[in-house]
């Protein structure tokens, strides 16, 4: 099972790395956010806005990248790969988990680029343990949303509707989160939404990690969320394929 997951993961990774434009574009977009919004926006929310917004951009990047990931499943399904893989004796779910692993690792690679740029721009994380925990937080968050997007992809099985659903949920999720401003400057209605938003959960945890604290509850919460969605995804995958 673990081996099969790795082989499916490897397939997607090699294919992605060979499409040079997709790699470059997926790295440029978050960098642009960081530079143009983080440095240029004349905000008075916090003393050091780039320090404040970096966790938000990190989570945003993983969010968008995870939500896009479901299209991989759609393509494998409509192009006939899925049927070929499912007719093999290796455990069927390994295909699903390989996909989720790839989407999550891709998100972490993008996050690494942002961390590097943020470091150049003067953002500092003091404790190396916290860097590891930032990666863990982003990974759990990414598993949660890539499992979700794979479910949506498998359910819709049509690229246009998928793109529509994707853009419908990604932007609202981002703008109603705590990515861009602290809770105390938000209007009350937005504050309520932001408190409920799972994306804020990941952002607040990452922000705590940047400031040197350890958000035990945040990480546990994300782990539970990722586990639940993964279970649901497995259930739906099994139902969809037999």
């Amino acid at each position: 099972m673990m081996k099969a997951i790795y082989y499916y993961f490897e397939r997607d990774l090699v294919k992605w790395l060979r499409g040079r434009i997709t790699v470059i574009s997926s790295l440029v977009m978050p960098a642009a956010w960081l530079v143009f919004v983080g440095l240029a926006l004349p905000t008075k929310f916090t003393d050091n806005y780039i320090q404040f917004i970096t966790p938000g951009i990190l989570v945003m990047t993983t969010l968008f990248s995870s939500l896009q990931g479901g299209s991989l499943m759609i393509f494998d399904k409509i192009l006939g790969f899925l049927n070929k893989f499912l007719a093999m004796p290796s455990p069927r779910e390994s295909m699903l988990y390989g996909k989720i692993l790839f989407i999550s690792v891709r998100g972490l690679l993008q996050a690494t680029v942002i961390l590097l740029i943020a470091t150049i721009l003067g953002v500092r994380i003091l404790n190396p343990v916290n860097i590891v925990l930032i990666y863990l937080t982003l990974f759990l968050f990414s598993v949660l949303f890539s499992a979700l997007s794979t479910m949506i992809g498998l359910y819709l099985s049509d690229h246009d509707s998928y793109a529509a659903v994707n853009s419908m949920i990604s932007m609202p999720l981002f703008f109603t989160s705590s990515a861009l401003m602290p809770y105390d400057v938000m209007p009350a209605w937005l504050r309520t939404l932001a408190r409920l938003n799972p994306v804020s959960y990941a952002i607040d945890s990452t922000r705590t990690l940047f400031e040197g604290g350890i958000p035990v509850h945040g990480i546990i919460g994300l782990a539970i969320g990722a586990g639940v969605v993964l279970l649901l995804g497995t259930y739906q995958f099994r139902k969809a394929v037999v």
Binding site: Y7, R11, K15, G80, K84, A87, V242
Partner: protein, 255 residues
């Protein structure tokens, strides 16, 4: 090798496969029929990709529902979509399958099947540069890497040029000579007549005729072909609607 008993599958109100009974031995067996006759549905049930609504089937002695994993370890399935990764090389495509099947000494096995399909000199090229015939042969190489006992092919020669088709058929014949059972669907009746040991014509999910191409053809009369058998046994909506040439000519004139 394959025993199909009262196999049925419906999608909503549509009965795609209706109480199908068939036995396939160690042979090249062709499943023929008009579009929508239930060919692909049958193949998908036999390859454990679709659960039958009722009835059973055994492949290599294993039940397709209860022992589906054992069935999958004995078969290979090549769907009609030509699903090979364009951004991987031919060799990488086959290697992926060898890894997933858990083949020991996979490198030499991969080289062997690539050689068998005549792709050795292009194995290092990206599949994006392959012709349709080469992609199809690459899919056969993927399917052969774990030495299946039964090979399921859905329209293996669809969309290929004459030489590409002949090459595929030569490979299929060679595999049969090596002892493999081949179960395939096709629309090219001339090819089925020439290469299949036995064929079944199905229509609306039911068997309309089954037997060797020679027997089916001779039952219709002299100088007949499998095409004649097909038209005799199968009444497609297109045919029943007929073609009104005067009406069509009038429509053309009106433009």
């Amino acid at each position: 090798m394959i025993e199909i008993r009262k196999l049925s599958r419906s999608f909503g109100n549509l009965l795609a496969v209706d109480n199908l009974d068939l036995d396939v031995g160690n042979e090249i067996f062709g499943l023929l029929g008009p579009n929508g006759a239930g060919k692909s549905t049958t193949v998908m049930m036999l390859t454990t990709l679709l659960r039958p609504s009722s009835g059973t089937a055994k492949v290599c002695g294993y039940d397709i529902v209860k022992d589906s994993k054992k069935v999958r370890s004995k078969i290979s399935y090549v769907p009609q979509d030509m699903a090979v990764d364009r951004k991987l090389t031919g060799r990488e495509n086959v290697l992926l399958f060898a890894k997933l099947y858990g083949i020991p000494n996979r490198n030499s096995k991969v080289d062997e099947v690539i050689e068998m399909m005549g792709l050795s000199d292009r194995a290092g090229d990206l599949v994006a540069k392959y012709s349709g015939g080469m992609r199809r042969r690459l899919e056969l190489a993927q399917a052969l890497v774990h030495e299946p006992e039964v090979l399921f092919l859905d329209e293996p020669t669809l969309g290929l040029d004459v030489s590409g088709r002949r090459k595929i058929w030569e490979h299929i014949k060679m595999l049969k000579a090596e002892g493999m059972t081949i179960f395939m669907t096709t629309h090219y009746l001339e090819e089925a007549e020439k290469y299949c040991n036995r064929v079944a014509i199905i229509d609306k999910g039911k068997v309309a005729a089954v037997g060797s191409p020679e027997n089916l053809v001779s039952s219709i009369g002299e100088n007949a072909s499998l095409n004649d058998v097909f038209l005799e046994k199968v009444k497609t909506p297109e045919e029943q609607a007929g073609f009104n040439s005067t009406q069509f000519r009038n429509l053309l004139r009106r433009r």
